[in-house]
Symmetry: C2
Subunit: 563 residues, 2 copies
């Protein structure tokens, strides 16, 4: 088939972008080709907010026919956390037909080489970017994120993370040249001379197991890392968040076809209610890579059982913020209040334990007791979320009944410093919207330990009274070592405390944000610059994105002969 | 303690070498700083052949006191495959004392940074290089390699592989800058600005489990990759090959001390007869990395059980050479004869199965029947090893009774094309020296399959009659997929056959040598240019050396604060 998109066209269009991405992962400076303001959309072929909404609405009542081989039925039934039924059906796959079909195009994809593969990936991302406002709706109505967050995190930020993975994959595959001439002197005899060819070869089929809360942001790194390194990719979305990844697969298949490759290099594996195909898929011999975001229990299961595959997991951790002292008390409270409220704390990066000395902290507004700090933080959250419109725009909706149940149970774990309240959403009356709860615990009381040493995913934080900064650092170390952490924060003006926290994070491999008081939050990371997770503590066995995340998705085969 | 070796001195001395190594792993051209001719030794502080022998002899009857904490006794008892008792004793470690002591120096080693760590590693390698001729004796009298091979493979080639690992480790750690300024525009508002620090942090203690046949060559990549990435390294040698790695640990501890670091960053774990400490060590929580060379059974055990660690294994495979046609019949026979004979076939890279069409092959000397090829190869081996002195210099000694037993049993597996014969070694009358056996098998007979589909480590090859080139490629594919292969060779003048073999190797991730007829052999690889293993088939889960071999030995911790 004649390709509609030639390699020449793709390289001309996307190579400069790749070069900027390559430069940025070296400098870690700020850069993104994906605008995060809604006004930037609606030109140059991209959908604006209204057109994105219309495209999303038009999907209702349709079948997303991806043209996949082995389709043996249709599945659907997603219900938005905002209460609406999505009404989209997806193909259900006969794996014994689909998986072999996914291998048919692998030779051509391998032979295309690292650069062309990167270009095709960037074209997929460009078309996704054009439909960002449609994806924003899809992410909003599967994750429960508020619109602006669904747009930003599910759109440009997810696309950034996908592009970052493409850049890392390209670097890694380019470290060895395509060919080499090797000439070894032999004294007076003729030298030994070999011609060597080096080819990056894929491992096979990569499986991406999506999550409910960040289907694109957490799904794109693995998807694009595997695809850019020559693998086929099967996407198994969370049953509650199929649409964003199904649209992604749709775009990928279109671009692959137009570029002259087999669309079956990317496919969707949606499942029937209760079918639970992830375990079956993850242990199929064709699956050689697994990317997973979700619960610790299933992540651990994958690491132990998907032995035929390279397994990259982002599981759960217990995130800690040490509050020891600050020279910007108001900024600290505002920053923390936002971190706790954003998407109702349903981020793997949201702080859970706030460790505060029971004797209080020094601030620019004088010494503050533990009770004062806790009360002031509660007031800051209240103030931030006092207006219902603003609260809805920040909180989004509770993604599922489990989160709601945990939130309700949390109030019984200790003294409530800030009670959770219901917020009505005038646009979506069925949405479950809740403000965060803050519960006081004592880090010296054994009976409180079970609460603050377990992950409580959702809008639940614990203000844990500690004996001292040293006690806080000790709890931090233990928590990261035993439970893992995606993020650690600390507020301190004391260089010794800062150093102790830093040492703890270096020892336990946790990513640390110090004294954030402005518009950057501990739960946010920027692609190309920040690492998401470290891969060195129990919360995740990989970081987004580094060399280790891509280097073992392919192998290099050398063919040598005498020159 | 004031360092005798300053960072400045080390960088001045070794940075140019590191830069050459970095350049070579990019170009894959020929380069080595370690001479492979004995005459090059004896100047600039290095021991010459006689001085190396004297140094080795002087070790007999001594205790190699490494000054390690937790030494609770002494172990020894190595007997050379050449029949002499080594008579060296090594410290036996109380792990509950030694392992904690190994962690004490990790902070300073981490804080030294990637460049200084690389310099210290290169200084260790330089001092090992000065003692190359002593190591040559130690390798000879543990592995049973002939002197020249023990010198070259155990000396300069092993040092090359160690340096290659240091170079890869340095590149990987240098991909992220130490610091970054990140400034994100916010329209009319002030930009968001963060200062970020990135620190490579080690995983913990790396365990190197050495092998009997190539203690230094196979041990150095893991040792130096882990050390250069900031980890401490515990070396657990094969009980039959302690001395080369014990001397390595001795040198490493000296250099670490002189450079102002804790010598306990590198330690030895020698064991009592039958103690079997590898399983205990590999599953200790302090051990976060394992490098292993040896049997498939134990490699698989490590991969399944050392779950707290990153595990890099080189196990065993079934290496195949397809003999389909050649335009240099004599060169092919000579090359193959050498490959089968070198170190009595006791290399993980030695060809085992020679797949030869039953209807014969085309050559520059006319068509040759299967029987003629087999007989001519047998004659070539006979000719190569006809002179006992030359035979001894090529074959070395049989490393242990298991190899001898397999060799003796092989003659019963089929028609013997070339019988193994005993060779007397006038210098070492107790050495077991044997020429290779070649046994004819039929790839179409099910009763022959068990033999050629199992690894038969040692001087045993099978001349397997196949129906056609296509049949050969099919057997090759199956063999690599099911049993793995460290090497694949092929002789063909037919571009279609060459392409089919190449495709099979790309699909199954096997390293391929085509039409070697001169002084390069399928079982040899050169550091900085050739990959040893692919990490993509069952013979090994890692390649020496690539990005994947080093990237997950450390993690990058980011500390960010408002600028």
């Amino acid at each position: 088939m004649a390709a509609e998109l030639t390699a020449h066209q793709l390289i001309a269009q996307h190579r400069p972008t790749l070069d900027l991405a390559l430069e940025t992962i070296r400098t870690r400076a700020y850069w993104s080709p994906h605008p995060e303001h809604p006004k930037a959309y609606g030109e140059n072929g991209s959908l604006d907010t209204a057109a994105g909404k219309a495209a999303f609405d038009a999907l209702s009542g349709t079948r997303l026919d991806l043209g996949q081989p082995g389709t043996d039925g249709w599945v659907g039934g997603e219900v938005s956390p905002y209460g609406i039924e999505l009404g989209v059906e997806y193909p259900h796959a006969d794996l014994d037909v689909l998986l072999p079909a996914m291998k048919a195009g692998q030779k051509a994809w391998r032979d295309a080489g690292a650069e062309l593969r990167a270009m095709v990936c960037l074209e997929i991302l460009r078309r996704i970017a054009d439909r960002t406002m449609e994806f924003a709706q899809a992410v909003m109505h599967t994750s429960g994120q508020a619109f602006m967050m669904a747009f930003q995190a599910g759109g440009p930020h997810a696309q950034d993370r996908g592009m970052e993975a493409v850049a890392y994959a390209y670097v890694e595959q380019s470290r060895t040249p395509d060919t080499a001439e090797w000439t070894k002197p032999q004294g007076k005899r003729d030298p030994l001379a070999l011609t060597k060819r080096f080819t990056p070869v894929p491992r096979g089929i990569g499986l991406v197991i999506g999550c409910n809360t960040f289907p694109t942001w957490n799904g794109y790194p693995g998807l694009f890392a595997s695809l850019a390194t020559g693998n086929a990719v099967l996407v198994k979305p969370h049953p509650g968040a199929v649409l964003p990844l199904a649209l992604t697969v749709q775009v990928a298949r279109e671009v692959l076809t137009e570029a002259g490759f087999d669309p079956n290099l990317v496919a969707l594996a949606a499942e029937r209610p209760g079918e639970g195909i992830a375990k079956t898929l993850a242990t199929r011999p064709e699956i050689r890579i697994v990317d997973y975001t979700g619960s610790t229990a299933f992540g651990d299961w994958l690491e132990a059982n998907a032995r035929q595959a390279q397994v990259y997991t982002e599981k759960a951790g217990v995130n800690t913020v040490i509050v020891e002292s600050t020279d910007d008390y108001k900024g600290m409270l505002g920053n923390l209040a936002f971190s706790l409220s954003l998407y109702s704390g349903q981020m793997c990066t949201t702080p859970q334990n706030l460790l505060i000395p029971r004797d209080g902290i020094r601030t620019d507004q004088g010494d503050k007791s533990y009770d004062e700090v806790t009360a002031d933080l509660a007031r800051a959250v209240d103030g931030l979320l006092g207006d219902d419109a603003r609260a809805n725009a920040l909180l989004g909706a509770i993604v599922n009944p489990d989160v709601k149940a945990r939130l309700e149970a949390a109030a019984g774990l200790g003294e409530v410093a800030l009670a959770s309240r219901e917020v009505a959403n005038p646009d979506f009356p069925d949405a479950v919207v809740r403000t965060p709860v803050i519960v006081k615990l004592d880090g010296a009381k054994p009976e409180d330990e079970a609460a603050y040493t377990s992950e409580c995913f959702g809008p639940v934080s614990f203000a844990v009274a500690v004996d001292s900064a040293g006690h806080a650092v000790e709890l931090l170390r233990r928590s990261v070592r035993e439970k893992g952490a995606m993020t650690v924060g600390a507020y301190t003006t004391d260089p010794e405390v800062e150093e102790a926290v830093r040492e703890a994070c270096l020892d336990e491999a946790a990513q640390l944000s110090l004294n954030l008081t402005g518009g950057v939050y501990v739960n946010q990371t920027a692609a190309f610059s920040d690492f998401h997770g470290s891969g060195g503590n129990p919360a995740a066995n990989a970081a987004l994105c580094d060399g280790a995340f891509v280097a073992n998705r392919f192998r290099v085969v050398e063919v040598r002969h005498q020159a």
